[in-house]
Amino acid sequence: MIEALRTAWLVARKDLVVEARSRELVYTTLFFSLAAILIFAFGFVREGRPNEDMAAGILWVSLAFSGTLALGRAFEREREGETLRALLLAPVERGAIYLGKVVALVSLMTCVEAVIVPVVVLLFNAPIGRAPGLVAALIVAGTIGFAAVGTLFAAMLIRAHSRDVLLPVLLYPITVPVVIAGVRGTAAILAVEPNLALARMWLTMLIFFDVVFVTLALWTFGAVMSE
């Protein structure tokens, strides 16, 4: 167990160092998210007043789209030098490699979220100050669920010619429960009459999804990467 965590940390740290050098994923996902949010803002904000209950959906759609972008590119890097094969050839638990990739992706997406959440708050007058900890917990839990499934699919598709098309096609249907729970939980906080108990219920659901997704992915990653 300690060895697996050590390996996961090594892989995650390597990914984060590579990203710190190139800043490619952070810049592209951030730019994409901000562009999406601005387009939504132009469409749904009239005379400085946003439509009610829009913020939660827009925030999660932006997160899902930018997350997909990051996933595809993160594995494209491993494909370029065939470094994924080198990782798979190492005498380590393959689940630990998966875990490292998930940790790196969640860290990266969290950095992007730290920027786009305030932008959504600003443009859509979203009152996250009512329960900032709960909003943060929902976003982090949702990000983990999304990254857990996405990392598995992105790794599976690394050799597929149509991987850029196939990734969202496979990923979005599976992550629908995560996105729904995230949207409903966030909307419950941002509503005119907030319902924090309902938000906590959705957070519990998200954590449940995370446990299921991570467990299934850890279980299957070694097998799907064996060829």
């Binding site: 090594l10 065939e82 080198a86 050839l89 005498p91 380590v92």
Partner: protein
């Protein structure tokens, strides 16, 4: 080491076939590989050389037949076998945005080696890259990357060393240096298998030679002309 390494002194390939859908990449390949030997694999593009290396590395399972390492199947050995395999792929297995030192130290730690910084320094010296240790790999020439990739592949002193086109992109001096390095690895007791199109460089180092054509393997005779001539004659015979 993470997994207690499993040591072996021979690899036996028995009737190995590998299919990708209806396409046959390897067909009933049988060969023996021994410690202290450097085996050259030759053949036209698409003949199955890289597939055979992938099967030997355990990254790919054969569709039929078996590969045993010291008499035991790779599938049964897992991590303890992979700890004794080093591979240099055609795409070099290096992170372009990491420095040479960081690449070596990352893989050294992944393999659970002790005193990784010292090993990495020694590898950098062996690759003649000690003065560029802290430069990103993306700034290296193909030859420099090739030298670094070889040192990365053998950093953990593997028993089985698999090399896919190791002479690609090397100038003459670098080819000679690589040949000397491979000879040293072979003489240290490694089982080295090298797929290459570079007959001149390979002729300096190989102990035995095999050719692959349409997935079928045959051994090249040890005498009767240069390596290139023997290969051409064997391929001509196989085509008849």
């Amino acid at each position: 080491m993470i997994a207690a390494p499993f040591d072996f002194d021979r690899v036996e390939v028995r009737d190995v076939s590998r299919h990708f859908g209806r396409r046959r990449a390897l067909a009933h390949v049988t060969m023996d590989l021994h410690a202290g030997e450097l085996t050259g694999l030759f053949g036209p593009n698409g003949a199955g050389k890289s597939t055979l290396l992938s099967v030997l590395s355990t990254l790919m399972h054969p569709s039929g037949g078996s590969v045993t390492y010291g008499g035991r199947r790779g599938r049964d050995l897992g991590d303890s076998l992979r700890a004794r395999i080093g591979m240099l792929g055609h795409d070099l297995f290096l992170y372009a945005d990491l420095t040479a030192r960081e690449n070596l130290e990352f893989f050294g730690r992944l393999y659970g080696l002790d005193d990784v910084p010292t090993r990495a320094r020694a590898a950098l010296v062996a690759a003649r890259l000690d003065d560029r240790a802290d430069d990103r790999v993306s700034s290296f020439s193909r030859g420099m990357r090739q030298r670094l990739a070889l040192e990365r592949a053998i950093l953990h002193h593997p028993r089985l060393v698999l090399l896919d086109e190791p002479f690609t992109g090397l100038d003459d001096a670098s080819s000679v240096a690589l040949a000397a390095r491979l000879t040293a690895v072979r003489d240290a007791g490694a089982i080295v298998v090298m797929a290459t199109h570079d007959f001149d460089s390979a002729d300096r180092v190989i102990s035995q030679a095999w050719y692959l054509r349409d997935g079928r393997a045959g051994s090249l005779p040890g005498a009767g002309g240069t390596l290139r001539e023997r290969y051409r004659a064997a391929i001509r015979r196989a085509a008849e």
